[in-house]
């Protein structure tokens, strides 16, 4: 909302797209067979595959979402970093080598290695599609949301551009080109995040109340009982009309003032009467806020003015440094954190107010917060369970951390990368490289997020823009490059997802639902057609879900993957008693139970259905802590029963 399109960003983005497509067309001849199309002939060097793991895994949610969450709430975004990385330990120690040994093209191949069962193929194919589509939607919506502010193009065009480029990448050379796109993206992301972090440390911290040239005003102290009269006579505010606190504003800590037809909203902040000047009465300051209003007839007002006249002012400043310093100069990585720990930062929170006529005003207000609190977990709504006294809230947190831990090693688009290297040793080595790249990047996210928080460049209405705006606060070039990398981030992840989906459609579903047998050449053609269809569906969903906040779908993907896929995979590897029926039951029960739990959860009630969170029948929102063990229990129970029933002589 506070970003002008950048020509430089468009040029850098087009250059990256050009290079990517050039590579794809050049490599196209290497993907004529199924082995080439789905698994790059198993000839990708392990080092390249390791970096491509990072490119595949570090989606827009990782890069933009985590940086934004840290910039807005502090430590909580880093909890995602920790959980996402920990999942790779499961991938390396439990899954990597067996996947390479057992499978060929898809996740279902590995599960089906011992049984040759149509049922397993179908169940695993459906679960692959479900997980991949949940993951795909936020990536596509995110692509459109990025294009709008950065390139000045409409949302739908962003989705179509990204969708078309990805379809071309996947159709020309399948896994070969997808791997190289992911390699380039992974490498660029790590290199430029390192540069950005070095610049943040070099800049250090500086105390500023607000951006130069703009002052957010605080007025007071004043008696609460006479506030309306006092404000009406306030010359600094131009003798405004004080609107009565009626309707939804009644009881809220705001006062609304009208000057020349423009309504501004101010937040009341209670202060202590330290010198006893007010005889024990309630004393308040009023702080200027920023507002975005969507009127009932669809008009957008920013700070009470029409969108073409009003603008959101950038925020995010240090208001106090230790020992009354004004500026720190360059800082070391630990010094950066320890100084922030003892400082005060003005964060911005928000509150939605729904008027009786249906118009919605979101009020963004300053919230000075001690650094020690910022560097503690539990400030955001997602991780509020940490600071809650309720046991069910704590369980919700534990459940989310469990899903992150178990989900990575069950994501089909990650697992199929194991087929692209030549042997198990390469699978292992590439995972170690992946862990090094991803772990290093996640440490950088902490610095980039905190750097954005104190950069003075934050858009309080859009947390996803934290990293690009941080880059802009340093240099226009860096902004162009980081924005272009954000797009390639989407390209790399979406290519992997479309490839995993088209593999599931061709190899797991079509060949098992029909009696037709395809030649290798036909299979590649069908896979390419499936890629186009999945790509077009992804474009349609990306446009359709534009208005919804779909970032929670990534969480759905992790929970469903962990509940449906991991129990079957782990038990297949470590329990001889596993049967075909047990695997099919575990995949179906894990998938259905986790999905049902999510659809009935309080978070979904509030964010999707618009119903009160309390009306949900589920005790907490994250299903993993129940549905992952349920998947294991189902597999054991069904395997025991089916083995007894079909045992010789039984």
């Amino acid at each position: 909302m506070l970003h002008a399109p950048s020509t430089l960003a468009i040029v850098v983005f087009l250059a990256m797209v050009g290079v990517t497509l050039g590579i794809s067309v050049y490599l196209g001849r290497k993907a004529k067979s199924s082995a080439g199309y789905f698994a790059a002939h198993g000839q990708i060097p392990w080092l390249v595959n390791g970096v491509a793991f990072a490119g595949d895994y570090l989606s827009a949610a990782s890069f933009l979402g985590i940086c934004g969450m840290i910039a807005f709430y502090g430590y909580d975004g880093f909890l995602y970093s920790i959980g996402y990385l920990a999942g790779w330990v499961v991938a390396l120690f439990v899954v990597a080598e067996p996947m390479k040994r057992l499978g060929k093209f898809t996740f279902a191949d590995a599960l089906n290695a011992r049984f040759n069962s149509r049922g397993i193929k179908l169940a695993a194919g459906v679960s692959t599609l479900a997980v991949s589509v949940f993951y795909l939607i936020p990536q596509m919506v995110g692509a459109g949301a990025l294009v709008q502010p950065l390139l000045g193009l409409p949302h739908w065009l962003g989705v179509v551009i990204v969708g078309t480029v990805v379809i071309l990448i996947v159709v020309t050379a399948g896994m070969v080109s997808t791997t190289w796109v992911q390699f380039i993206k992974g490498a660029l992301l790590v290199v430029f995040s390192t540069i950005l972090t070095a610049m943040i440390l070099e800049r250090g911290f500086e105390v500023r109340r607000w951006r130069e040239g703009h002052d957010f005003v605080s007025i007071g102290p004043a008696r609460l009982s006479t506030l309306a009269t006092d404000l009406a006579h306030e010359s600094q505010l131009g003798y405004p009309e004080v609107l009565p606190a009626e309707g939804p504003w009644k009881g809220l800590p705001y006062v609304r003032l009208r000057n020349d037809g423009v309504v501004s909203v101010w937040r009341l902040r209670e202060v202590e009467d330290v010198h006893n000047n007010y005889g024990g009465e309630s004393i308040v300051m009023i702080d200027q806020t920023q507002t975005v209003t969507k009127t009932a007839d669809g008009e957008m007002l920013i700070n009470g003015k029409s969108a073409d006249r009003g603008a959101i002012e950038p925020v995010g400043f240090i208001s106090e440094l230790p020992n009354d310093q004004k500026k720190t100069g360059p800082l070391g990585p630990l010094e950066f954190l320890s100084i922030l720990q003892d400082s005060e930062v003005v964060l911005w929170a928000n509150q939605k107010v729904v008027e009786e006529d249906g118009s919605v005003t979101t009020v963004y207000y300053p919230k000075p917060t001690p650094g020690s609190e910022i560097l503690q977990p539990g400030a955001s709504a997602t991780f509020a369970g940490i600071r809650s006294e309720k046991f069910s809230d704590k369980l919700n947190f534990l459940s989310l951390m469990l899903a992150l831990f178990c989900g990575t090693a069950s994501l089909p688009h990650i697992l199929i990368r194991y087929y692209t290297v030549k042997d198990e040793a390469s699978a292992r080595k590439s995972t170690i490289v992946g862990i090094a790249c991803i772990g290093f990047f996640y440490i950088l996210t902490l610095y980039m997020g905190l750097g954005a928080m104190t950069s003075g460049a934050l858009d309080p209405t859009d947390s996803n823009m934290a990293a690009p705006l941080l880059a802009r606060s340093i240099s226009e070039w860096l902004f162009a490059i980081i924005s272009a990398i954000a797009f390639t981030t989407v390209l790399g992840t979406v290519s992997g997802l479309i490839l995993a989906s088209s593999g599931a459609v061709t190899h797991d579903l079509l060949e098992n639902l029909t009696t037709a047998r395809f030649t290798d050449h036909q299979r590649v053609r069908i896979a390419k057609m499936a890629s186009v269809v999945v790509g077009v569906v992804a474009i349609a969903l990306g446009i359709l879900f534009k208005e919804l906040n779909v970032s929670y779908l990534v969480g759905w993907a992790f929970s469903v993957a962990a509940s449906a896929n991991l129990p079957a995979l782990v038990m297949l590897l470590f329990w001889r008693g596993t049967t075909r029926q047990g695997i099919i039951a575990a995949v179906i029960v894990g998938m259905v139970s986790s999905l049902a739990w999510i659809l009935l959860s309080g978070d979904t009630f509030a964010s999707v259905y618009g119903l009160p969170k309390e009306s949900s029948p589920m005790p907490f929102s994250q299903p993993g802590i129940v549905t992952i063990p349920l998947g294991f229990a189902t597999l054991i129970a069904v395997s025991l029963v089916s083995r007894r029933r079909w045992a010789p002589g039984a």
Binding site: L92, V94, L573
Partner: protein, 78 residues
């Protein structure tokens, strides 16, 4: 069924799981402990987070060092 590499992997997995579980449980049930600043003015929540990331890489390197190149010991261990 379980190869030599798989057994080493399982041991390292449980070591990391214990370390990760310690972090999650401390965050949930002893948040005051996470606020302490044991060293260099940086709190335990950050130190523990960094340690989890570093431990993942160190254990991964250890696993890479002790694993057989391509483990064919399938049949010898049940």
């Amino acid at each position: 069924m379980a190869t030599r590499n798989a057994r080493i992997g399982l041991v390292l997995f449980f070591v990391y799981l214990a370390f990760y579980a310690g972090f999650v449980l401390l965050a949930a049930f002893a948040p005051a402990t996470m606020q302490r600043t044991p060293w260099a003015g940086v709190n335990l929540a950050i130190w523990y987070g960094f340690a989890l990331i570093a431990a993942a890489l160190l254990l991964a390197l250890l696993y890479g060092a002790v694993c057989r190149l391509n483990d064919d010991s399938d049949a010898d261990v049940a």
